[in-house]
């Protein structure tokens, strides 16, 4: 009796488990990604566009990589050490890693990659990441599996830059990297091997059986280039692709589409209204603070994003480890705004906000701010310009620059270092295009990049954000949320976050 029950149970479990297992994972599964832009060049030291980086992420790997918590963890380097003075970083490499063409990966490849980036003839704009105070970082091969980076002075964000994808020396040495055939037929160390690239149409990669973190679960990935946002959504709905970004306007509709899961997560991005401090209209801090009081950020966020964004108060993002909420926030208050404007004798303030054409969120924001500031008697003109033309104005290496205010955004790196945005040396050449200058901020910015250790740096940045928010050189407007739709047949996604849903691409699979 007992045996019989057992055998029935066994049969039942066999019947139910077999199809269940089959429904779980397709060993020949192909993931179909969509890319919004054209892939330009599949060489990580040259590419600057997100489409190319997305594909490179499957083909190449670096010494270290980022995890779901936005921490740097071992990748091609098994472990690393930093000298006490913070200047010498030693990386111990994983052994027996092979390039996709079968050649062994060594420390020589690492040195070659960073030396190529530093070569002025190579059109890599990443070069500045490896130059500290005008001096390049030196890379030294200690033995086949050990490589050292020697920094001219301590530089906390270095580990993130050490995550640059490594390119093979044996295929690129002595070649012109800018034009090499390699850039169209890349060879890497990553979970997927390059298969084919039809210009403007698609790139496909196939499983690397020998990947050092284990064989990927997907047999292949097909990256389909679909430049139009609406077409991407239609293709996702029609089941032709497995993943697409979703603009706020389509959020509610897409949530109700069957077979698609919608994810929302924070991004390391903020949008702001920046004032040209070289212009006498904005020289008085009280004027900027008054405008901050007159800004109804909640209204902006609800009108433009229908809740898919949150109001911003500091030049960092809430998901950054260095974020601090302890800053002056200037909550919406028209009385305070009027009072401050009166004190600063700026009751009849009139200025022009520049926004770039085609960015509907910013265009709407400019118009809403125009209405909001009208309530405190400030007249705002909005000028919509083409992106390149706008950049030309704010990047012009002259003092003062020809603008009054601009709505623009910063995409933040994983490291909180904000030297290039706020340090007074970064004007008129550089990204401190608003001519912000605060000696204490300068000092803290320098301290932030030379201090080692998260907790010590956290304190530096908390103070820094507080000082900058107090000055209000920008009115921080919002943090947009990223919204992504993924087909329900896809599994093995990572925790939603700024590092993306496909962080561990080797663990992603599709169901049959």
């Amino acid at each position: 009796m007992g045996l019989r029950r057992f055998s029935i149970l066994l049969i039942c479990s066999l019947i139910f488990s077999a199809p269940l297992f089959a429904a779980e994972m397709d060993p020949d599964g192909i993931l179909r990604f969509s890319l919004g832009g054209e892939v330009s060049v599949l060489n990580p030291i040259l590419s600057t566009d997100t489409a190319s980086s997305a594909v490179e992420g499957a083909i190449f790997t670096g010494l270290v990589k980022v995890n779901e918590k936005l921490e740097m963890v071992p990748d091609l380097a098994e472990r690393w050490e930093v000298s006490k003075d913070g200047k010498i970083w030693t990386f111990y490499l994983r052994k027996n890693v092979k390039w996709h063409d079968g050649i062994i990966f060594t420390a020589e490849d690492v040195k070659f990659t960073f030396d190529s980036i530093l070569n002025p003839k190579v059109n890599s704009v990443r070069r500045s990441d490896y130059i500290i105070d005008g001096k390049p970082i030196q890379f030294k091969v200690l033995n086949k599996y050990t490589v050292q980076a020697i920094l001219p002075k301590p530089f906390a964000p270095f580990l993130i830059h050490a995550g640059m994808n490594i390119i093979p020396k044996h295929l690129l040495e002595g070649k012109d990297i800018n034009t090499a055939e390699f850039n169209r037929k890349p060879v890497g160390t990553g979970p997927f091997i390059f298969k084919e690239w039809q210009s403007g149409d698609h790139v496909s990669v196939v499983r690397n059986q020998n990947y050092y973190f284990g064989k990927p679960l997907l047999a292949a990935i097909n990256y389909k280039i679909i430049p139009d946002e609406n077409s991407q959504l239609v293709a996702l709905e029609a089941g032709e692709i497995d993943d697409s970004g979703i603009p706020p306007k389509d959020y509610t509709r897409m949530k109700s589409v069957k077979g698609i899961k919608v994810f929302e997560f924070d991004a390391l991005v903020y949008t702001y209204l920046g004032f040209n401090l070289a212009n006498p209209k904005f020289a008085d801090k009280r004027v900027r603070q008054a405008l901050a009081y007159a800004t109804d950020k909640n209204q902006l966020v609800s009108l433009i994003f229908r809740g898919l964004a949150s109001p911003a108060y500091a030049p960092s993002a809430p998901i950054s480890w260095a974020y601090s909420d302890n800053v002056p926030k200037y909550p919406y208050n028209l009385e305070k705004a009027k009072k401050l404007l009166k004190e600063a004798k700026a009751e009849n303030l009139e200025f022009t906000i520049l926004v770039n054409q085609g960015n509907k969120d910013r265009e709407k924001a400019a118009v809403i701010l125009q209405q909001q500031y009208k309530k405190v008697g400030v007249k705002v003109n909005v000028r919509v310009m083409e992106w390149s033309a706008l950049l030309k104005i704010i990047n012009a290496p002259k003092d003062p620059k020809d603008f009054e205010a601009v709505i623009i955004g910063w995409s933040l790196g994983l490291d909180p270092d904000a030297y290039s945005i706020w340090h007074s040396s970064q004007y008129p050449k550089g990204f401190n295009f608003i001519k912000y200058k605060n000696p204490e901020v300068d000092k803290l910015l320098e301290l932030g990049r030379t201090t080692m250790g998260k907790s010590a740096r956290k304190k530096v940045y908390a103070r820094l954000w507080k000082l900058i928010a107090e000055d209000q050189p920008y009115i921080f407007l919002w943090y947009p949320k990223a919204v992504e739709g993924v087909s329900e047949r896809v599994g093995g996604l990572s925790k939603p976050g700024p590092a993306g849903l496909f962080l561990n691409i080797e663990k992603v699979f599709v169901r049959k």
Binding site: E38, S40, V41, L46, T48, D49, P120, K121, N123, V125, R126, R127, S128, D129, I131, N178, T179, A180, N183, R184, Q198, S199, G200, D201, H202, K224, I225, I226, P227, D228, N230, S231, V234, A235, E237, A238, E240, I241, E386, W387, S388, A389, L391, K392, N395, P397, W410, S411, G413, A418, S420, I421, K429, G430, F431
Partner: protein, 303 residues
């Protein structure tokens, strides 16, 4: 005819040089430069200046033009800034795909326009004529991108007949509807005008069958303005291709062109402008030859 062709082909040279000169300087007049795309708080301005110098953009524009012209004469159009690949090979990869879309659309348009225009004119104010008039006005009023998206929603999401992206059927339909709308109106008007002419009345008075009056006497004359319009609408096809290529993710040259303009990818823009100019000039030449075939009054040389 041969002499005429030779003369027209010779005119190509100054024409192409003129096109290149104007486009090169207009392109450089537009604000912005190719490295503006790299804007990122971590990239220092001196790095951008270095890359610009590597591309030769630190030279005066007129010198850059002569360097370009010298190489272009030898059919070397340089390399794309974004991909590092030769412009020629990129255009060679994309142009056939644009033509694959344009030529069938062009032929389809002709095949539909002529009979529809003729029938509409002959049966003026019939239900057929009124129906197509409505269709034409709707076709002209509906923006291509909207029509494309609606077709995708209908045929891909609802009916699952064709894939939404990367398939030729839907872009072909969208493109053809766009050009049909205007052309059928022209064909109808041309035909109506001819049908009121004295020689048609004479033909009918002679007792010729209506079929011969319409297709032999009237249509041949009514085709003349259509040939002109077709020749002139070639550039529109290129422009229209961009929107259609973008919506249907069709990897043609139109998309490459517009993207290059946004990126200020100078060598790529010049390459595409030159190829398009060449195609348009050839298209117009074909239209001129077409005149001689349809219009007995036009002869390009004295015998």
């Amino acid at each position: 005819m041969r002499k005429y062709l030779f003369r027209r082909l010779l005119q190509l040279i100054p024409l192409l040089i003129g096109v290149s000169l104007i486009s090169f300087f207009v392109m450089h007049l537009a604000p912005g430069d190719p490295t503006a795309l790299f804007i990122d708080p971590n990239v220092r301005p001196e790095e951008l200046a270095r890359v610009r110098a590597n591309w030769g953009l630190d030279q005066p524009v007129y010198i850059q033009y002569f360097v370009w012209l010298k190489n272009a004469v030898l059919l070397d159009f340089g390399r794309s800034y974004t991909t590092g690949q030769p412009v020629i090979s990129e255009v060679a990869e994309r142009l056939p795909l644009t033509l694959l879309l344009m030529i069938p659309s062009f032929i389809l348009t002709l095949l539909i326009t002529i009979p529809v225009g003729v029938i509409s004119a002959v049966r003026k104010n019939s239900w057929f004529d009124n129906g197509f008039t409505l269709f034409s006005f709707a076709g002209m009023a509906i923006p291509t991108f909207w029509l494309g998206l609606m077709l995708m929603l209908l045929f891909s999401v609802k009916l699952h007949w064709f894939p939404a992206v990367g398939n030729i059927i839907l872009p072909l339909i969208t493109m053809t509807i766009g050009s049909l709308a205007g052309l059928t109106r022209y064909q109808r008007a041309a035909m109506l005008e001819i049908l009121n002419q004295d020689f048609i009345r004479t033909a009918r008075a002679k007792g010729l069958p209506e079929r011969i009056v319409i297709f032999k006497h009237a249509l041949r004359n009514a085709l003349i303005p259509i040939v002109t319009i077709l020749g002139l609408s070639l550039p529109d096809l290129f422009g229209g291709a961009f929107i259609i290529e973008t919506i249907f993710a069709w990897p043609g040259m139109g998309r490459l062109g517009v993207q290059s303009i946004f990126q200020r990818n100078y060598p790529m823009i010049m390459g595409i402008v030159m190829f398009s100019a060449l195609l348009i000039i050839i298209g117009n030449l074909l239209a001129d030859i077409g005149y001689a075939l349809v219009d007995p009054r036009i002869r390009y040389e004295k015998k």
